[in-house]
Amino acid sequence: MSKKTNEMSQILSQEKLASDVYSMWLRTEEIAKEASPGQFVSVYSRDGSRVLPRPISICEVSEDKRSLRLVYRVVGKGTEEFSMLKAGDRLSILGPLGNGFPLERAAGKRVFLMGGGIGIPPMVETAKALDGDKHIIAGYRDELFLQEELKRYGRVYTATEDGSAGTPGNVLDAMMANGLTKEEGREPEIIFACGPAPMLRAIKAYAQEMEIECWISMEERMACGVGACLACVCQSKEIDEHSKVHNKRVCKDGPVFLSTEVEL
């Protein structure tokens, strides 16, 4: 298990990738070193009126493991604040948190990385870390981002809701349109997915039907980020080993779960 640290990181760069999507590289002492793909960090606001951390997935770790990249969408006050920070500013973060994707399960398999919207960023580091035959399906609302990074580490298929690029529709549509099907012998042997709940629900159903091993990264509002407060639970199919009830903690037991383990 990776060692968690609360650090005052330093912002190395801040860049706008799309209308409301930003990318930030942060210099850390410990966190980048410990991080693995699919894990996230808690980012603390610098404004005293906001007391809860913002969980943001680790998009990339630099080769020297001294810095990490966060790619995030401005959706509220916290992310708006982050977007206004500049190189040189400092930012308190806690991490790495959560379990991350079980890369070892993908060994030798045709792995599909499916990211939707702001669920795309963790797929960059995941693709980077995986060897072998990687298919990356990226679903966007309209504007594209992180395409170059993704293309560096695998074959990329794109879907957009407004049809402005790639396949019109969602990630499953893009799979079908590109012949990534059982009929063609090109279906996934294992899926790693991250994105909005409706997308995850559809992927879970598809995987269940096709009997494909599928790992999904869940989202829930968080307070502690380390498994102590029980704010961020999702419902589990079976009684959970730790909680003794039908609840799993997204921050600690997840965010990545086997799709059959959890209710969506």
Partner: protein, 301 residues
């Protein structure tokens, strides 16, 4: 050498700083981030007689300078707690206080009875949770119920009993007196203030339970006022909490009359908050040439 030791009903804490129930699990998770040996005490999440599922999500929402939560006292039940979580806590050189919840007087007693056999320093009885339909706050807003349940659990407890009071009352001193009459050894306050947040875009409640408990720095003035009132009403020692994030905050409570303090929500935005408070109290004492923390307790009158 300055002395930060305090005694609560005969239990001596190395310093007055503890964790607030429900914000620190049973210590396992935060032990990766801070040294539990440094804490005056660890107060665990509420424990019931059987596993509780808690409320649906979203269970929390951020508010201005604080948060509301409606976890609904999810817990694995006293059996698992005693077999798995207690042995973990026993490894540390800190006092262990177990928070107890229940739906009926009988359930509270059952839990207290079970915990009495364990290596636990104190029991904190949560009669003030605003997020469960039965039990909890239903007891905490009625002085007769407070006295009754205090007397009932006291019959089963072999450890000193802390009664945790709700701030959602017109007169906190009435509840404090009732707990004192019932035989409480220590009082802790405040639990959360009942609050609500509305998501104006989704036009629905921000937490699934509709209402939740407000905590964090925003509630501190209410908490300090109540601690002050209670300290000047009853003779029992008080554990003060509600919005403590810094040593300055903790010292407000101590000067108002608290013998010990708990750090809750602040752990969420500063995992080191408890340690910062301990270190800050020491520096304040050094700076102000105060030998013994006793010299500070309740001196603002």
């Amino acid at each position: 050498m300055i002395n930060t030791k305090v005694s609560l009903a005969g239990v001596e804490l190395k310093n007055p700083v503890m964790t607030a129930s429900g914000t620190f699990g049973s210590g396992v998770e935060y032990s990766e981030l801070i040294d539990l040996n440094r804490l005056g005490a660890v107060v665990t999440k509420g424990v019931a007689s059987t596993p509780w599922t808690g409320n649906p999500t979203p269970r929390i929402a951020e508010t201005y300078g604080g948060m509301i939560n409606a976890i609904g006292l999810q817990n694995p039940g006293m059996k698992v707690f005693c077999e798995r979580d207690l042995p973990f806590l026993e490894k540390f050189d800190t006092k262990v206080i177990v928070n107890v919840c229940g739906k009926t007087k009988e359930e509270y007693c059952r839990v207290v009875d079970r915990l009495s056999d364990e290596n636990i320093d104190m029991l904190e009885i949560n009669i003030s949770c605003p997020n469960v339909k039965e039990g909890g706050i239903a007891f905490g807003q009625d002085p007769f119920a407070v006295e009754e349940i205090t007397a009932a659990v006291k019959k089963y407890a072999r450890q000193p009993v802390i009664m945790k009071l709700s701030p959602n009352v017109a007169d906190i001193t009435e509840m404090a007196r009732a707990a004192e009459c019932g035989g409480a050894d220590v009082l802790s306050l405040i639990n959360t203030l009942t609050g609500m947040k509305i998501d104006i875009n989704k036009r629905t409640f921000a937490v699934a339970n509709r209402t939740g408990g407000l905590s964090g720095p925003c509630v501190k003035p209410v908490a300090v006022r109540m601690v002050y009132q209670v300290a000047n009403t009853v003779k029992l020692p008080i554990i003060g909490m509600g919005g403590i994030a810094t040593a300055e905050d903790a010292l407000e409570f101590i000067l108002a009359g608290a013998t010990a303090v708990s750090v809750g929500t602040a752990n969420f935005f500063n995992p080191r908050a408890t340690l910062d408070v301990i270190e800050g109290i020491e520096s304040y004492m050094q700076k102000n040439k105060i030998q013994d923390i006793q010299e500070l307790i309740g001196v603002v009158k």
